[in-house]
């Protein structure tokens, strides 16, 4: 406590920026009304980009202020708020790594909207910046209710992003996304209120040490899992995801896959394991079964997709299956692998959605059949696409490999059959990703519209290149992440062992 409130600044910087954009816009509304020109559009996007870049700088500052060797939460800020609820922020390695992912992806998303968002840009960047505040808030909250507020409030901007700037069936997708997520979250809210009443505090550190009776734990665990399973998403409550992904604008898909899904995994690691260890152990076989079904089944479903975004969306569900597998292995390898997989998937799937967005902006279709032979016209694009295809398959040397192998090793130690099932999924992932790649990139150009398609422009380069660099960097030097998350992994597991 004391010192510079770096976490608060980092969390609320985007919100303040959004208010600023809103005020400036309101002040200039009269003068620039006629020319909703590309100039004012770009000015707004640039301003938002600068704000989110500043947020990234703040999160990097938090990274340097953070000492990974210290156990427990750091940079804690706490103020009394409401009864047992306090405004308490703090980070450990797990949350810091996800915060960095968020602050890293948001500027990229705003840049990626440079050419693709034409209408209502002011509202768009405001929604995005507000969403960023809520996403960061989820990862840095150390209070149940504060966490819940950020967790649930994020639905509102995302609903608007999908609903206003989305594709043809955007309204259906936005409603489905919202209502699915909400019903899970509200069940979690009941459990939270119960926990606050039982423990007399909403503070994570108190609740981690509070031993709930095993019978109660089961109910609380189920209520929390109702929320996280939808968010992650796990089979069979994943059906909102393909719809939302397909309809969302490119940047929305990137954030959805890159960050919002990770809240589910984060929640499991932050609540399910440390606070309800008995229930977690009880449900371990069920979670393994669901994870394996998710990996195998959704991989097969992905294979049959004709829409590029839908394919990647299903592949996300499969990759999140690895996260579930790793987390519920209850060993260091598995949990480390799960965290790594979340970060790596954030980069890779984000990049894949950007890759799809590149051709979508040119052709305005996501049908795989409309493409083919892109390598002839877009060699650089094809190379990037190749890299991320391989990373998604889990090729050694990319970050995708590290996450998958660790979660499988961890899963193997806990239940051989689960790892065997997951391994099957790795094979399928090669099947669908390579099929996608072959059908869009290789071959002769069959669609005449593709004849004069241009390769990636400078903005797209700036968006995708850093993701490519990090994918390879974390693939060859995974310790960069492990150093950060080691102590929080150990902490989760020791809390779990201590509570049981």
């Amino acid at each position: 406590m004391g010192g510079f409130p770096i976490l608060s600044v980092m969390t609320f910087l985007p919100l303040a920026g959004a208010l600023l954009v809103m005020l400036v816009r309101a002040a200039t509304a009269g003068s620039s009304k006629g020319e909703s020109s590309s100039q004012s559009r770009k000015a707004v996007l640039l301003a938002a980009f600068i704000i989110s870049a500043a947020t990234f700088v703040a999160s990097v500052a938090a990274f340097f202020a953070f000492d990974p060797s210290v156990d427990g939460y750091q940079l804690v800020e706490q103020y009394a708020w409401y009864g047992p609820i306090s405004y308490k922020l703090g980070i450990d390695g797990l949350s810091l790594s996800l915060v960095l992912l968020t602050t890293f992806l948001t500027p990229i998303c705003l840049l990626a909207s440079w050419n693709s968002i034409e209408k209502r840009v002011t509202e768009y960047v405001i929604a995005f910046l507000v969403l960023e505040t809520f996403m960061i808030g989820v990862f840095v909250s150390l209070d149940l209710v504060l966490f819940y507020i950020f967790f649930e409030a994020g639905l509102i901007p995302m609903f608007l992003i999908v609903g206003i700037w989305g594709g043809k069936d955007r309204v259906y997708a936005a409603f489905k996304f919202f209502l699915y997520t909400l019903i899970g979250s509200l069940l979690m809210l009941i459990a939270m209120v119960y926990m606050i009443l039982a423990a007399g505090s909403a503070d994570f550190e108190v609740l981690e040490k509070f031993a709930f009776a095993p019978g109660i734990q089961t109910w609380l665990w189920l209520a929390f899992m109702a929320s996280f399973a939808v968010k992650l998403p796990m089979w069979p409550v994943h059906t909102w995801l393909p719809d939302a992904h397909v309809q969302a604008p490119t940047a929305g898909s990137v954030i959805l896959a890159g960050v919002l899904l990770k809240m589910g995994g984060y929640g499991m690691l932050r609540f399910s394991l440390p606070m309800f260890p008995d229930a977690s152990a009880l449900f371990q076989p069920a979670m393994f079964a669901l994870a394996v079904i998710a990996i195998v089944y959704t991989s097969l479903v992905a294979w049959r997709q004709t829409d590029m975004k839908k394919l990647i969306a299903y592949s996300s569900v499969a990759h999140m299956g690895f996260v579930t597998l790793g987390i519920f292995a209850f060993n260091e390898t598995g949990v480390q692998g799960a965290i790594f997989q979340m970060l790596s998937h954030g980069l890779i799937s984000g990049a894949l959605f950007l890759i799809v967005g590149v051709v979508y902006d040119r052709m305005h279709t996501r049908e795989i059949a409309a493409y083919g032979g892109l390598v002839n016209r877009m060699p650089i694009y094809a190379s990037f696409f190749m890299l991320f295809t391989m990373a998604n398959v889990g090729l050694p040397g990319t970050s995708g490999f590290v996450g998958e192998i660790l979660t499988m090793v961890g899963g193997f130690q806990a239940a051989t059959w689960a790892a065997a099932g997951a391994a099957l999924g790795v094979i399928f992932s090669a099947v669908y990703m390579l099929t996608l790649y072959r059908r869009t990139v290789f071959g002769e150009i069959t669609n005449p519209h593709l004849n004069d398609i241009k390769d990636m422009n400078i903005v797209e380069w700036i968006c995708i290149a850093p993701l490519a660099a990090l994918t390879i960097l974390f693939g060859v030097a995974p310790n960069l992440i492990f150093n950060l998350t080691d102590s929080s992994t150990a902490r989760v597991l020791s809390l779990m062992a201590g509570g049981q």
Binding site: R120, I164, L179, L182
Partner: protein
């Protein structure tokens, strides 16, 4: 010796309202139509003054040999309801002017209705209670039919009157049974005498009568029709001030008069609460008229408030005040937004008319969206804490099925709240609304700021541990 000052202070708000109301009648008689325009400012000042008087004697006291007794619990509700009633009067003027019905009777009826609210909140005797309820109800019937040339408005008034009279009859019959079996009409006396089987019958009938007044299911049927037919500013009034006052009175009677029979009424209230939540949120799903939709939504919200009532005095009193305060403010704001839906000189009420509001009137759209998200109980807005308090009270009283129903109903209700958001933000703009009155716009924005943000940041001042807890502590144990 009689302490006259104390008595006068205890009934000061009601005395003031009765006085200003009568002065208003006189002014109306003397100046006729010249008083029409001024009457709105006059009425609003009278109501804000009454709120100030309630603040001055917040601790409460006893008057008229126990016929009237106030405490912090009811005074809290009084202050809020008087202020909301005053605001509802301010925003009404423009609307009535356009309909050429700016008549001073409107302001006077609001004053008398508020007098009725003050009396039921202060009541400590069945007689006082009934008197207050009738004052409130009769004024309300007339207000609902205020546009007497409009068939819709007259129908609303008549419907409200016939059903309301039936409910008053039930209440009166219940009260007489209670009196018959306990031998007293004083609240304290009944509580002391204990609730025998006979008095229990009386209690149930009273609950039925009061449930009608707060439009709880299954006595809710009048609500959508009256909300649809009555002039919009009248509905803005109905949905905020009397709603809060009656709900608090309902709780006050159950807690203080029938506190010993909590085991019995808890079941009834739980059923009423559950029904209200489900009927309200399912009913609203299919509505296309915004006033009907908000009418059903108010039924669902009464259901949430009743969860706090069912939790009992110990757990629910503060939660009830927190929830109803936030809800009443939000509700007033939402109806003020409906008031701004005006096109080609006439009101429009279809929800489709809000199409593209975010493009045509962004400030109004943002404020209304905040109000809608808040009433839906979504964080980070203030309404979330209202629901949070209700859930907490329900779980503390171990009413877990009710808590689950709150959740289910909230999800269903999101179906129509999101529909409104969708129409405002996703759809293409329809024709622009006409210019909005400054007072109406200010009310929408102000309530959005208060309900959405102030109640969130300063929830510790309002909710548990804050004013609501302080006020709830005034209830006799």
């Amino acid at each position: 010796m009689l302490d006259v000052t104390s008595i006068l202070m205890t009934v000061a708000p009601e005395l003031w309202l009765a006085l200003t109301g009568l002065v208003g009648v006189l002014l109306g008689a003397i100046f006729g139509d010249r008083f029409n325009s001024f009457s709105f400012k006059f009425g609003a000042l009278a109501l804000f003054g009454a709120a100030a008087l309630a603040v001055l004697h917040f601790g409460g006291g006893e008057a008229f040999g126990g016929l009237v007794r106030t405490n912090t619990f009811v005074n809290f509700a009084k202050v809020i309801t008087f202020v909301l009633a005053g605001i509802s009067l301010v925003i009404a003027e423009g609307f009535l002017k356009r309909h050429e019905t700016t008549r001073y009777e409107y302001a006077l009826l609001i004053i008398f209705a508020s007098l009725g609210m003050g009396v039921i909140l202060s009541a400590a005797d069945l007689m006082t209670l009934y008197m207050g309820i009738e004052t409130l109800s009769l004024s309300s019937y007339v207000l609902a039919a205020f546009h007497r040339d409009s068939a819709r408005s007259s129908e609303a008034g008549l419907k409200y009157f016939v059903l309301g009279a039936l409910a008053s009859g039930m209440l009166l019959y219940g009260a007489s049974l209670v009196y018959g079996f306990t031998g007293t009409t004083s609240f304290a006396g009944i509580a002391e005498a204990g609730v025998t089987t006979g008095a229990l019958f009386g209690m149930v009938l009273m609950i039925v009568g009061l449930a009608f007044k707060i439009s709880a299911a299954p006595m809710h049927v009048w609500t959508p029709d009256v909300y649809e037919g009555a002039p919009t500013p009248v509905v803005a009034f109905f949905a905020s001030a009397p709603k809060m006052a009656s709900t608090v009175v309902f709780a006050n009677i159950l807690f203080t008069v029938f506190g010993s029979a909590m085991d019995q009424w808890q079941i009834i209230i739980s059923i009423i609460a559950g029904l209200s939540m489900m009927i309200g949120s399912l009913g609203a799903l299919l509505q296309t008229n915004i006033k009907r939709l908000l009418g059903y939504s108010s039924i669902a919200n009464v259901g949430y408030a009743l969860v706090a009532v069912a939790a009992g005095q110990e757990f629910g009193a503060a939660a009830l005040l927190t929830f109803t305060t936030i809800y009443a403010v939000t509700s007033l704001g939402m109806f003020a937004a409906v008031l701004s839906m005006r096109r080609r000189g006439g009101m429009v009420e279809g929800i489709g008319e809000l199409g593209g509001l975010a493009r045509t009137k962004p400030v109004l759209a943002i404020a209304l969206s905040v109000l809608i998200f808040s009433v839906a109980g979504l964080p980070p807005f203030g309404g979330f804490f209202g629901k949070f308090e209700v859930l907490r009270a329900g779980l503390q009283a171990e009413l877990i099925p009710l808590a689950v129903l709150v959740v289910i109903s909230s999800v269903i209700s999101l179906g129509y709240y999101l529909k409104l958001i969708k129409i405002m933000w996703f759809d293409e703009p329809t024709e622009k609304f006409e210019a909005v009155d400054l007072s109406v716009m200010a009310t929408v924005v102000l309530t959005a700021v208060v309900a959405g943000i102030v109640f969130m940041v300063f929830i510790s001042e309002l909710g548990t541990g804050g004013w609501a807890t302080f006020a709830a502590a005034g209830l006799p144990r």
